[in-house]
């Protein structure tokens, strides 16, 4: 009898272990199993690319328009009876350069219940996003100045070739723009199928620069191949800026000297936090005050080319 009962128990245990026989699984207990929420990842924005490359004129005092006069040069005479020459800041084309300061900022209203209910420190998240948005705004404002430069290389449907860069260098040099020269381009101007990197493909002609036997230096191509990047090309310090606007594949970068543009900061970035009793939440506001303008138009060359094939 005992043997029969143990045999029966053995058979039943197999039967009870079959699927669908009242097992407790993560599915049956879903409602009791918590979901872990990790700290949020914030959307990335392009940073402060252009500001360090342009002339800076801090403007803390009174006034909202920052004016930079440009004095015309004198002409040396070969005569023992010299004529008076006036120091004139009114005849130089584009003088004075005026930048009007404005307020730029973002504001977020954080409901207290959202702050209490969120895993993340929502105040810190808001602050970081506000800060990022202000930096992006500044970079975009400076990038937009590229299109107001009157010297233009390329066109809306043109691919960049080495001669365009040499021409830009030539224009800056003729205008006596002081070194170094910067080249700020959209990432597509550099790495796309029609970008700068294609000039260093293994093709032996004058539009490609690969190795000494082809007539050009190979180390820049090696930098692109090794690092995906070269800090200096064709005499320009190269920078990439995703804040450059692209319209129908075309974007406008710029080759320029420092004094082509000016950035006029009036008040640095500040966060203000105010609690609103009736709204039961915090108004978090980040603001900064600055102005930007073209300083010397002939120290820049707009580079308008395709950013993709």
């Amino acid at each position: 009898m005992k043997k029969f009962l143990s045999f029966l128990f053995f058979i039943l245990s197999f039967g009870l272990n079959d699927r669908g026989a009242g097992e407790t699984t993560s599915t049956t207990m879903t409602e009791a199993i918590p979901t872990a929420v990790s700290a949020a990842l914030l959307e990335i924005e392009e940073g402060d690319v252009i500001r360090p490359l342009v002339a800076q004129y801090p403007f803390p005092g009174p006034g909202l328009v920052h004016s930079t006069p440009i004095v015309s040069k004198l002409t040396s005479e070969a005569d023992d009876s010299l004529a008076n020459q006036a120091l004139d800041s009114g005849t130089y084309t584009g003088s004075p350069s005026n930048a009007t300061v404005g307020v730029h900022g973002s504001t977020v209203f954080l409901k207290e219940i959202a702050v209490l209910g969120t895993v993340d420190d929502l105040m810190a998240v808001a602050g970081q996003l506000i800060g990022q948005s202000v930096v992006t705004k500044r970079d975009s404002d400076l990038a937009a100045l590229f299109t107001s430069i009157t010297a233009i290389e390329g066109d809306a449907n043109e691919d960049i070739v080495p001669a365009d860069l040499f021409s830009a260098y030539n224009k800056l040099r003729i205008q006596l723009a002081p070194l170094p020269y910067y080249l700020v381009m959209h990432p597509g101007h550099i790495w796309s199928g029609v970008g700068l990197v294609n000039m260093f493909a293994n093709v032996a002609d004058a539009n490609h620069y690969t190795y000494a036997a082809a007539g050009g230096p190979g180390s820049v191509g090696e930098d692109f191949m090794r690092n995906g990047w070269a800090g200096r090309v064709f005499g320009f310090d190269l920078f990439t800026d995703a804040n450059i606007a692209v319209t129908s594949r075309a974007g406008s970068g710029c080759a320029f000297s420092r004094n082509a543009f000016k950035y006029v900061p009036k008040r640095e970035f500040r966060i203000d936090v105010l609690f609103s009793g009736p709204e039961v939440g915090w108004q978090v506001t980040g603001t900064e005050m600055w102005g930007e303008a073209v300083l010397k138009n002939n120290f820049g060359v707009e580079m308008q080319f395709n950013t993709s094939a």
Partner: protein, 186 residues
């Protein structure tokens, strides 16, 4: 033939009744299905109405940009780059850009030129001249400075043999190749 005749045989009374019953059931099931769909639809609509009515503001975090000015985009109204945008710029920078381009004979405007205006301008002598100069410049920049060794040799062979250059290197495309017996003169 016999099988076809069997198929054309008229339905018996019981078969007719069965067919009618099936048709009636089909209509009933369709009606049931439509009613279910309507109920599901109204159920969904009710959920939406509840959400809208509830207006759960604690789930929303308002965000607003604040600038004390509005940036302006200007457009080229003439010249090689007609229709090209300038900006968006601070209003004072827009004025300075306007003057800078005006000195070069380029008019900027708040109004974007229409496709018709652009196409009309492109027929003008002024634009055609600027465009032809630009295209010539681009063609010159894009061509290889070194030139091709094959082209040089072809030129020399053509001069020595008296055969025109286009016949020396006249390689036909795949759609131009014909069979030997179809070739001219064979």
């Amino acid at each position: 033939m016999e099988k076809d005749q069997e198929k054309e045989k008229p339905l018996g009374k019981s078969e007719k009744q069965e067919l009618e019953a099936l048709r009636a059931e089909n209509v009933k099931l369709r009606a049931q299905q439509e009613a279910e769909a309507k109920r599901a639809g109204s159920h969904y609509e009710e959920l939406e109405r509840i959400k809208n009515k509830a207006n759960a503001a604690q789930l929303k975090i308002e965000y607003k940009d604040s600038d004390d000015h509005k940036n302006i985009t200007l457009y080229h109204k003439n010249g090689l780059y007609i229709g090209k945008p300038v900006g968006p710029l601070h209003p004072s920078n827009a004025e300075q850009a306007f003057h800078a381009f005006r000195r070069l004979g380029i008019l900027l405007s708040l109004t974007r030129p229409t496709a018709l205006e652009i196409s009309e301008y492109k027929k003008s002598a002024e634009y055609k001249l600027a465009r032809s100069q630009f295209d010539a410049m681009r063609a010159d920049r894009k061509k290889s400075r070194k030139g091709s060794e094959i082209e040089r040799l072809t030129r020399l062979i053509a001069q020595a043999s008296g055969v025109p250059e286009n016949q020396l290197n006249n390689i036909k495309g795949p759609n131009e190749v014909v069979a030997t017996n179809q070739a001219v003169g064979v």
